[in-house]
């Protein structure tokens, strides 16, 4: 039996307004267990902007700076600069943005900050669409998914952007993927990121969304786990943009993951085969990168 060992400390309040079964809420709960009290969250427009609480409420026990949709990277840079001026070296600045705010509109501010190697952690919790505004497709929406802007036969025919690779190309000190169904791995990566002060650390956290994915809320964690088990969302780390470590090897067909989600319900056998071959191709590429650092 796998016995999870998770810190007891809790930095989140009950009573937040995330949907039942929200994976993004679980992601924050785990992340803060690793980050601790000395953390300031920078949250742009996204579901978490709402979950964080309507004014004057807050759902977190740490301070939050709510900011504009495109600005997580810039706002976090500014906040870190302000803390530097005050001589506060202890507090960790964490940008916490959705996939829309990271892959699309926020990529400029993020790329700029990473290029300057700003000292903060950037977290993209990825629910694979613009959920807060009603499930519009983003460049993180996977091939095959239906959203309100890729409805019916117009389901998304483009591949998901590989954000970690974009960050790796910046030669960022630490970039890693994590998943709410693997809390020990997730927490360990957040602890690592917190301790690696001095540059930008990027964490790509897979967070299921029952509402947008049209899945039963109780299956939220199970489906997030299947994404890893089927190699659709591999768990890995990249140090300095070149040094790859794989944390998990999946062995299940993508079919297991796809068939239980409403957003993929329309896919036929051929579509699923096509997705399987894309996943296999990505997986092989990833393994080659793993080998690359072994050689040297």
């Amino acid at each position: 039996m796998t016995q999870l060992n998770i810190p007891d400390s809790e930095y989140m309040y009950s009573g937040h307004v995330g949907c039942p079964g929200c994976g993004a809420a679980i992601a924050m709960k785990f992340a803060l267990k690793a980050l601790g009290e000395k953390t300031i969250m920078v949250i742009p427009a996204c579901c978490w902007g709402v979950i964080a609480g309507p004014y004057p409420q807050s759902s977190l026990k740490v301070p939050i700076l709510q900011t504009a949709f495109a600005t997580a990277g810039a706002a976090a840079s500014g906040l870190k600069a302000a803390l530097d001026m005050k001589g506060d070296t202890e507090t960790t600045v964490v940008a916490w943005a959705g996939d829309g705010g990271t892959f699309d509109i926020g990529i400029q501010a993020l790329s700029g900050a990473v290029e300057r190697n700003e000292d903060f952690i950037y977290v993209c919790y990825d629910n694979e669409a613009y959920m807060n505004t009603g499930v519009q497709r983003s460049s993180a929406t996977p091939f095959g998914a239906r959203t309100t802007t890729t409805p019916g036969k117009g389901w998304k025919k483009n591949r998901k952007k590989n954000m970690v690779e974009i960050l790796a190309a910046h030669r960022i000190p630490y970039a890693a993927t994590a998943n709410i169904a693997f809390p020990e791995d997730l927490i360990q990566k957040f602890v690592k990121a917190r301790q690696m002060k001095g540059g930008t650390r990027f964490l790509h956290v897979f967070a299921s969304c029952p509402t947008g994915w049209r899945i039963p809320s109780e299956m939220s964690v199970k489906i997030a786990r299947l994404a890893v088990q089927s190699n659709i969302f591999p768990l890995y780390e990249v140090k300095d943009g070149i040094d790859y470590t794989l944390n998990y090897k999946g062995d299940r067909p993508v079919m297991d993951y796809l068939k239980i989600q409403g957003r993929f319900k329309h896919l036929n056998h051929k579509d699923i085969e096509q997705i399987q071959s894309m996943v296999d191709e990505d997986w092989k590429l990833l393994l080659r990168k793993m080998n690359h650092n072994q050689r040297g």
């Binding site: 999870l4 009950s14 307004v17 039942p20 079964g21 609480g53 004057p56 807050s58």
Partner: protein, 584 residues
């Protein structure tokens, strides 16, 4: 409200900030009102426990053992079965056949854990506390100190009765003592566990054969009777020369009581396919005799436990399947056993065994030095069975009950469709419950009371449930493999106890299989899913997106003020110890 202010917040307090700042938590929002389904802690029944004739709470026993809580594991076993060291060795463990873990790899070695706990109890003299009702002044006369009689005494004593057990033999134990050979069940093990019954205050009077007269006289002294005499008389084959064959049960008895028997090598034929036949053949091998087992049906139809059959073959017993004995003759100092070849002709619907008919005219002759018969046994006296004329007799799953004055119960091999040690223990338990209910609430209450004690859908009964222990809250719904969240388990081989090869043993009658080591117990119990019961893994609390699972005094509770009813806890519970219930 904020629980504590961080340094930053205190600092920021002092400078004017022209942005709006929150000053209260979201706990004001009682999001529990969103809920239309409600998670509940709902412990269910593991299939192993329902398949165990003694109804042991196996999921819990494995859980306690995995946590090193051996004393509690022992207490949990003893609630339902007084003989873990014995059953851990000789029980056919139907529990393992039902084990959900087979869906992933191989069943849990439940018997091995049971044996370890049973041995630890004896070796380490583990203290335990057994719930016992106050003396109710009623006395029970028990005939036969086999497992059924001893179990009847054990359970009845715990319900407040005082019990006297009358045994014809020189020592208690029944077949445990004089049937099953020492290489499977050493004397010391039987002694130690029988002592547990004596320690309760049960009187065992040996060398006393009960007769009909004896029972008639005893009616003045006892308020009830339990008859557990077992099957004492061997069945006859009705073939010419039968009297030249030796009785298998007698042979086993001599092996146990006299310990030595010299047979000068040679070959012996054993007729039969049950436990007795196998044990006779394996004992012969241990005496240096070549043993040939002749059985009229196919090997897989043998009523003996298949594992025993395989071990016998490994030890050198030769099996001749589809041969029926037709006569025995003497020739010089030797015997000639004539065998009629048989062939299958269809299947028996009730047993699933092959029906056989003679196959041709040509018979086969076996020339051997000895012939043993072991084709089964029956009660030795008619009074040992409930009288057919008595219309009042109630036939239950593991006993028959006659509400005469005084009431009579019959159990063990006398009544059980499956003749095994664990079924005999079930007889003792069912009889105790039936009798106690009869005295307290009358005849009409018995059926309902028995139903309320079922493990799952039965027929296994739980004494803990009868005594309104914690197990009474257990949902009878059975956990299936599909209900297990196997994401939390990875394949791991079943642990096998070490066993000594026969040819390497100093004394061939020494026990072959060893007891698990602590390490093996740790490994094996960790494989168990703990189907349906909470083992405090904490997954429900870990994954709750609402921080709505509270943990206080090792007790988990859903905070319904905030739980939105997403159901993640229920799915992430690896063992189906929770359920979702519709809100009303």
């Amino acid at each position: 409200m904020w629980e504590s202010m961080t340094t930053e917040q205190n600092f920021a307090e002092k400078i004017p900030l022209f942005i709006s700042r929150s000053n209260m938590s979201t706990e004001l929002n009682k999001t529990g009102s969103w809920r239309f389904v409600r998670p509940i802690y709902d412990e269910k029944t593991a299939p192993c426990s329902a398949a165990c004739p003694a109804g042991e709470d196996i999921a819990r026993i494995e859980m306690l053992s995995s946590q090193g809580r051996y004393r509690e594991a022992l207490e949990t076993i003893l609630l339902e079965n007084p003989f873990p060291a014995i059953c851990g060795r000789v029980c056919f463990h139907t529990c393992e056949t039902a084990c959900n873990r087979s869906g992933l790899d191989e069943p849990i070695a439940i018997h091995g854990i049971e044996r370890f706990i049973g041995d630890a109890a004896v070796r380490d003299n583990l203290t335990f506390s057994l719930e016992r009702l106050p003396d109710n002044g009623k006395k029970i006369c028990i005939v036969g100190a086999g497992p059924s009689g001893l179990a009847a005494a054990y359970f009845s004593t715990r319900l407040g009765y005082s019990c006297d057990v009358f045994e014809a033999g020189a020592e208690p134990g029944g077949i445990l003592r004089w049937g099953i050979p020492r290489y499977r069940l050493p004397d010391a093990v039987v002694n130690a566990e029988v002592q547990r019954i004596k320690n309760l205050g049960v009187k065992i009077i040996c060398n006393t054969r009960a007769t009909q007269n004896f029972l008639e006289e005893a009616k003045d002294r006892y308020h009830a009777f339990f008859i557990g005499c077992g099957h004492g008389r061997s069945l006859k084959m009705n073939i010419p020369g039968e009297n030249m064959a030796l009785d298998g049960l007698d042979f086993l008895n001599r092996m146990r009581t006299e310990k030595t028997e010299s047979l000068n090598n040679g070959t012996a034929a054993v007729i039969g396919g049950g436990n007795t036949a196998i044990d006779v053949a394996r004992s012969l091998v241990r005496l240096g005799v070549k043993a040939i087992l002749a059985y009229r049906r196919r090997k897989q139809d043998m009523p003996a436990f298949q594992y025993e059959v395989e071990t016998a073959v490994k030890e050198g017993v030769k099996v001749m399947e589809l041969f029926s004995p037709s006569s025995i003759a003497q020739d010089g100092g030797e015997y000639i056993l004539t065998l009629q070849p048989m062939k299958p002709s269809g299947m028996e619907t009730d047993t699933g065994r092959a029906r056989v008919v003679p196959d041709g005219e040509t018979t086969q002759e076996l020339r051997v030095q000895r012939i043993f018969t072991a084709i089964g046994a029956e009660p030795s006296e008619p009074w040992q069975l409930p009288s057919k004329e008595n219309a009042e007799t109630v036939y239950l799953s593991h006993c028959a009950f006659m509400a005469n004055n005084p009431p009579f119960l019959f159990g063990g091999d006398l009544t059980n469709p499956t003749k095994s040690v664990a079924d005999a223990i079930a007889s003792g338990k069912q009889s105790a419950i039936v009798l106690d209910t009869f005295f307290k609430k009358g005849m009409n209450a018995i059926a309902d009371r028995l139903n309320s004690c079922l493990v799952g859908n039965g027929p296994a009964l739980s004494m803990e449930r009868y005594l309104d222990g914690k197990r009474s809250n257990r949902n009878p719904d059975m956990v299936s493999y599909e209900n297990i969240n196997v994401d939390y388990f990875s394949p791991a081989p079943r642990i096998k106890a070490e066993s000594h090869a026969l040819d390497k043993q100093v004394n061939p009658f020494d026990e072959i299989e060893t007891t698990f080591t602590i390490r093996q117990v740790m490994e094996e119990t960790r494989r168990c899913f703990n189907c349906g019961i909470c083992n405090a893994c904490d997954n429900c609390r870990i994954f709750c997106p609402e921080i709505a699972v509270d943990l206080q005094d090792a007790q988990r509770r859903i905070n319904l003020d905030y739980c939105k009813g997403c159901g993640i806890c229920v799915v992430e519970c690896p063992r189906n110890a929770m359920a979702l219930e519709e809100e009303v």
